[in-house]
Point group: C2
Chain length 134, copies 2
Amino acid sequence: MHVEPVLTANQQLVFKALGDAEAPLSAYTILERLQGKGIKAPLQVYRALEKLIDFGLVHRLESLNAFVVCDHHGDHTQHPVAFAICDSCGLVAEFVDSSVQEGLSRWTTGHAFRPKRVTVELRGLCETCDGASK
Amino acid sequence: MHVEPVLTANQQLVFKALGDAEAPLSAYTILERLQGKGIKAPLQVYRALEKLIDFGLVHRLESLNAFVVCDHHGDHTQHPVAFAICDSCGLVAEFVDSSVQEGLSRWTTGHAFRPKRVTVELRGLCETCDGASK
DNA sequence: AGTCGTGACGTTATTACATTACATAATTCA
DNA sequence: TGAATTATGTAATGTAATAACGTCACGACT
């Protein structure tokens, strides 16, 4: 089973800010949006993000230096997730693909590499934006 | 066929700095190492890196904000590459895995997503460092 | 020769992202 | 209760990246 972690005040603020946004937010954008609600300094945001990521509630997008709420259903465990990020509208699709996972785990076991963190990010254009750019 | 691009002076400096290093270098580390050899400002490094990446001679590691020379043999074309990065010794292994590629391209075609740039990075411990950490 | 376009270069300043350091409150639990 | 841990607040600093400007070198035309 899985126990939902209790979020502190700052963590709730940051989590909600991310949930309300429709695109990934940078730490400093989160900061801006929470000025006046109790958040005043970058570190408050970064600390909250760190915990939220630990809890599996939030993902960091490395290629964007930005953050999104995790999208997968029940369990917030450690399976690696992939992201497709639209450079035009900011839409982020989170997905899991078994053959990607197999390929990666085949390589890691074959090379005795012990992975701790996996980043798979596709940057490009979503269907809508790609269609619109014609 | 493929024509080797002619590198400008700054590009050569940056490329050599990366080649001489055994681990990924950040842009500012490159800058430090090239002070006194004609490079004085961040932008000189960033511009050279941009070109080297365009040429396919260098890769950017998103999860590290750092750069390495490309490791694959002959052709420097656009196929997506994956990296395994040891967090302990900095070793970077560059590899291509067909089932990862299939998985990603299956998803993108299925969702009409047009990828422009693909990032696949595994952070963890290489065989040596993992063994040593017991 | 002159001028035009292009691409690399140089410099300064600024923006964006992230962490260190240190002091203080709150919580847990032996 | 009191020691240990965990969260907090604040300021300063460190690191990564780009904006905005102008200049220089060179080849292509006319």
